[in-house]
């Protein structure tokens, strides 16, 4: 059977450049952990339960429940700056 030559329909992806992760902490004890509420589908209620877990199981961790400033589609440098200045680590949730 004869063979056909056809064109590839897919677009052109950008180059991927790796971004290093932040150094991890040696311990969470004595550190401030931000629980960042992305304000989607009751995620704040979930993070409240996570905060309760830390209070019960790791009381040496200070937790701060922090909603993002707007919707999750908008970058939030003010909140990120606050976390960098006052916190040591963060949990973001809940993505879907």
């Amino acid at each position: 059977m004869s063979k056909l030559t056809v064109l590839d329909p897919t677009g052109y992806p950008p180059k991927i450049a790796a971004k290093p992760l932040a150094p991890r902490l040696d311990t969470l004890n004595g550190r401030t952990l931000y629980l960042v509420d992305c304000r989607f589908d009751d995620s704040g209620l979930f993070l409240e339960q996570m905060r309760a877990w830390f209070a019960e199981h790791m009381p040496g961790v200070t937790t701060v429940l922090k909603p993002i400033s707007s919707v999750y589609l908008v970058d939030d440098p003010k909140t990120w700056e606050e976390i960098r200045a006052r916190g040591h680590a963060a949990i973001l949730g809940v993505g879907h």
């Binding site: 064109l7 897919t10 992806p13 991927i16 932040a22 209620l45 979930f46 339960q49 996570m50 809940v94």
Partner: protein, 437 residues
């Protein structure tokens, strides 16, 4: 990802399990394949505190490991090493390996390059014929798209648009319209879990030149131009942006049959009592244009406008819409003239004013909608208008469901009757066609 890479804060991202493939893929294409991501069951929405606590205490449904153990380890154990310096180019070839017609059709299906309907194979001859439909050069970049906010943009050229237009069965004379749609950069294959589709309204002389349908059956499968232009838009979107695969790059929970041809039709300018849609957006009536809407999901419909209670009937239709999906009235010319006759709306703007004033609901009810909570309430709390003012309203006070600028009116239909509908959707952009001839 921003917190990790830009601000140097060790972070764990929590997700629901339905999104494991998509969020890992997003981390990968953003250059962070080792990002700490922990999963809990879907859904979060509507669960009691006790149920949510059980998620926290329970196991990650993807890995089977204890959620909080993964969280703590994600913040305290090194995660990346050799891959930290990763950098690579992902290129896509111009040609597919030559094969038989049958095998190529299978290959296109397997690679998710189609909409699962038969396609026309894009041979070099067919693509060259399509390219003859424009003066633009094949290697010119037309635009870029992505399936969601967190994914990377992919680019496409005139030739790539032509390849997808051939696959859709479009004719070369349609190509300037397809290029104009492509130039909007609005994807018809959003990965939103709300199962979005797009809608395209074509205005101006090109409608008649290429035989587009603005009359009977305009939004159905009764015009080669309407059908294949809309299909080309969908195929270009999924291929041009690098995919639309359920569970990976498409998360629309129920899917959306509007996506088969992106509700593509011509406005019935000749039978409309008002100015054409593209003229409202700054173009001359003698110019041709495409206007693209996204979020096309919800529809309400009725027949005509009754003399006695038409205001109430329209109000109820509007109240049936989700307030996060503003209304585009798609009016058969008979219905459009009834709005003029019954309401005195000699200008389209007067009708839009009336719709804005009519679509209201109690503030407490409005703010309780889940999508309003997700997307509008956060903006209101930080002072963005008009929502900040609406947020200050008393719970039993009526407030507008929609912003006036988000309400649109388009005339389409063949006057076989006065049926009309409301499409819940978001206007995105109008792009001139003539520059793409």
């Amino acid at each position: 990802m921003t917190l990790e890479a830009k601000y140097g804060v060790p972070t764990v991202a929590m997700h629901t399990d339905k999104f494991d493939r998509v969020v890992r893929s997003v981390a990968e294409v953003n250059g962070m394949p080792d990002l700490a991501q922990v999963f809990v069951p879907q859904p979060i929405m509507g669960k009691t505190p006790g149920e949510l606590r059980a998620y926290v205490d329970g196991a990650d449904p993807i890995t089977g490991r204890i959620v909080m153990q993964e969280v703590v380890e994600g913040l305290t154990r090194p995660r990346d090493g050799a891959r930290a310096s990763l950098e690579y180019d992902r290129s896509t070839p111009r040609l597919v390996e030559p094969d038989t017609e049958e095998n190529l059709h299978r290959l296109f299906l397997e690679r998710n390059w189609t909409d699962n309907l038969p396609i026309v194979l894009p041979t070099e001859e067919r693509v060259a014929a399509m390219l003859a439909g424009t003066r633009r050069k094949p290697d010119e970049v037309v635009g870029r798209m992505r399936s969601t906010h967190f994914r990377e943009y992919w680019q496409y050229t005139v030739e790539k648009v032509a390849v997808n237009a051939v696959m859709a069965g479009a004719r070369p004379e349609y190509f300037p319209v397809i290029l104009a749609i492509a130039a909007t950069g609005v994807t018809a294959r959003s990965s939103s879990s709300s199962a979005m589709a797009s809608m395209v309204v074509v205005n101006g002389p090109i409608r008649a030149e290429i035989g587009m349908n603005a009359g009977t059956g305009a939004m159905g499968p009764y015009s080669h131009a309407n059908a294949t232009i809309g299909r080309a838009y969908g195929l270009l979107s999924q291929n041009g942006q690098g995919g639309s695969v359920p569970g990976l790059s498409y998360m629309g929970n129920q899917g959306n049959s509007y996506a088969y041809n992106s509700v593509t039709f011509a406005e019935n300018e000749e039978r409309s009592p008002w100015e054409p849609f593209h003229v409202q957006h700054g173009l001359a009536a003698s110019e041709s244009a495409v206007s693209v809407f996204s979020g096309v999901r919800s529809t309400a419909f009725t027949l005509g406008l009754r003399e006695k209670h038409w205001r109430e009937h329209v109000r109820h239709l509007l109240r049936g819409m989700d307030p996060h999906g503003p209304p585009a009235l798609l009016l058969d010319p008979i219905a459009a003239r009834q709005f003029v006759d019954r309401g005195g709306f000699g200008k389209k703007g007067a009708l839009i004013d009336w719709i804005y004033d009519t679509a209201r609901m109690r503030a407490s009810e409005y703010w309780d909608y889940q999508l309003i909570q997700n997307y509008v309430y956060p903006r209101a709390t930080f002072g963005e208008e008009p929502w900040a003012t609406n947020l200050a309203a008393a719970p039993d006070e009526d407030i507008p469901m929609f912003r006036r600028e988000d309400i649109h009116v388009i005339v389409v239909g063949g006057e076989t009757n006065g049926y009309w509908r409301i499409m819940g959707c978001n206007y995105q952009k109008t792009e001139p066609v003539d520059a793409w001839r």
